[in-house]
Amino acid sequence: MPGSQRETVPPEDDFRRPGREAGRVITAANLTKRYGRTFAVNGLSFTVKSGRVTGFLGPNGAGKSTTMRMILGLDRPTAGDAHIDGRPYREFEQPLRKVGALLDARSVHGGRSARNHLLCLAYSNGLPASRVGEVLEEVGLASVADRRLGGFSLGMFQRLGIAGALLGDPEVLLFDEPVNGLDPEGIVWVRTLMRRLAAEGRTVLVSSHLMSEMAQTADHLIVIGRGRLLADAGVSDFIRRSSQGYVRVRCADTALLASHLPEGSTTAHGDHVRITGISARAAGEAAAAAGIALHELVEVQPSLEAAYMELTQASAEFTTGRP
């Protein structure tokens, strides 16, 4: 049916139809990958929903790329499985119409031009050649479309990879470290693109080892460490659950103040005291009741970065103790 194949998005697959917004699109169930005795991914289960940007976070070597490769059918799981819209990726006939992915952006033949590279991909999924020009325009590579890829910079490769991911106008997008090698303008562009794709109702899974990047892009976070799930929560929940918040207090006699507060709630940090477990208001009132003059009383909110560090550090300590 060449006629219907030429349509970029088959009508029966229109993800913009109502009712799909909260759909669980990507599912991983007990996903495990073992190389010899080491587990790259260990019993990972999560779902990724449509209409929002899901950040896939973890330190280098946490198993993010391996997980994405298993979702995309490149690597075979040792145990468990991954599905996109209820089907394993390997069963998709023309997957680019459904799923766009950017893994290693340099996975291209250096002797080919950008246009020919994308043309191979377009033809293989029955997409019209005109889509190639459109996505090249969209990612800003139209002027170098006929240049050999060997001379591309990392940032240009990333743009080409994103062009390849967008080729089939897919409803599901997976990006592995998409801002690697991009200049500040490129980073803002990728961030805006992710937000726009999610706002259009698509499912966007973006991996990164930088929380600072995800803080500005993601709505939801899946955090892994050493191949295990550490957190699966909304960005604000994620911060709230962290124990990193505290009250900073300065006064003349910190020891006196500490004696009027619950035991163990204070720690001395140079010229100030950090109080955890009680609110700034309670700390201030306790000081007033004791007649201590406070020079400073500040409630310090945990940053996403700090929450992330705490979580992943804990995972490292947790796992290193084991045989």
Binding site: R69, R76, L96, V108, H109, G111, S124
Partner: protein, 246 residues
């Protein structure tokens, strides 16, 4: 499937090694045809048709190495550059991908091989002049077309071995072992086993199609045996491609 074939065709035509390898093939075949025939034409007697044809196609063993290398490169270059992952993201049904690649490669190289073998034959006969063979003589066309078929077969052999080894140099070594070393090894087997096995070994069997001399296997039976070797390599490649991580 049409889309997959178009996709593989774009891949094949958009890298320069295809052009260079094809040019190398033509140069080797035609120049050897010229030189071999020039040497043969010094003899006063008219050559038998089969002998005159064989002389013109004398570079076939070298040509088979060139075409097989192109076959290896068709897949090993994807592994070297990482393109294979991009390819498998677009076509996760790996068997189909390999089938499309093989079909595209076979059609392209067979066309090139047929033209090259015809050119080599015509150049050779032109040099031999009245001592040469004419296409109407028995076996001549079968030998010329057979040479093109055999070269295409070795190209597919290279593609299968390249998919198995996933490395350019390793793939070319595998081709050399399969087509050139294996017959030598078979020959060293004791108690006449070597002589008995020899006609069935890869290139020995395959090149019967371009021979006019009598042998254990008829030309087409020999080529059939070669195709069995090719099928075994292709099957192994297909199974491993499906199982291995990309």
């Amino acid at each position: 499937m049409i889309g997959l074939l178009r996709s593989e065709w774009v891949k094949l035509r958009s890298i320069r090694s295809t052009v260079w390898t094809t040019a190398g093939l033509v140069v080797v075949m035609v120049s050897f045809a010229y030189l071999n025939s020039a040497i043969a034409s010094r003899d006063a007697e008219r050559l038998p048709a089969g002998e005159a044809t064989r002389t013109a196609l004398g570079a076939a063993p070298f040509a088979s190495l060139i075409v097989a290398s192109l076959g290896v490169l068709a897949i090993s270059s994807e592994y070297r550059t990482g393109m294979i992952r991009t390819t498998l993201l677009a076509v996760p049904r790996r068997g189909r991908m390999l089938a499309a690649k093989a079909a595209t490669f076979a059609v392209f190289t067979f066309a090139v091989n047929l033209l090259t073998c015809l050119a080599a034959f015509l150049v050779g006969q032109a040099v031999l002049g009245s001592h040469g063979a004419s296409p109407e003589e028995p076996g001549v066309l079968r030998m010329v077309a057979g040479c093109a078929l055999y070269l295409t077969g070795t190209g597919l052999f290279g593609l299968a071995l390249g998919a198995l080894v996933r490395h350019t140099a390793g793939g070319v070594v595998a081709v050399i072992v399969a087509l050139f070393v294996l017959p030598q090894l078979a020959g060293t087997l004791p108690d006449g086993a070597g002589a008995r096995l020899m006609p069935y070994v890869t290139s020995v069997a395959g090149m019967r199609i371009m021979s006019s001399a009598p042998g254990v296997l008829t030309p087409w039976a020999g080529f059939g045996v070669f195709c069995l070797w090719l099928a075994a390599a292709a099957l192994a490649a297909l199974v491993l491609l499906g199982r291995r991580d990309a």
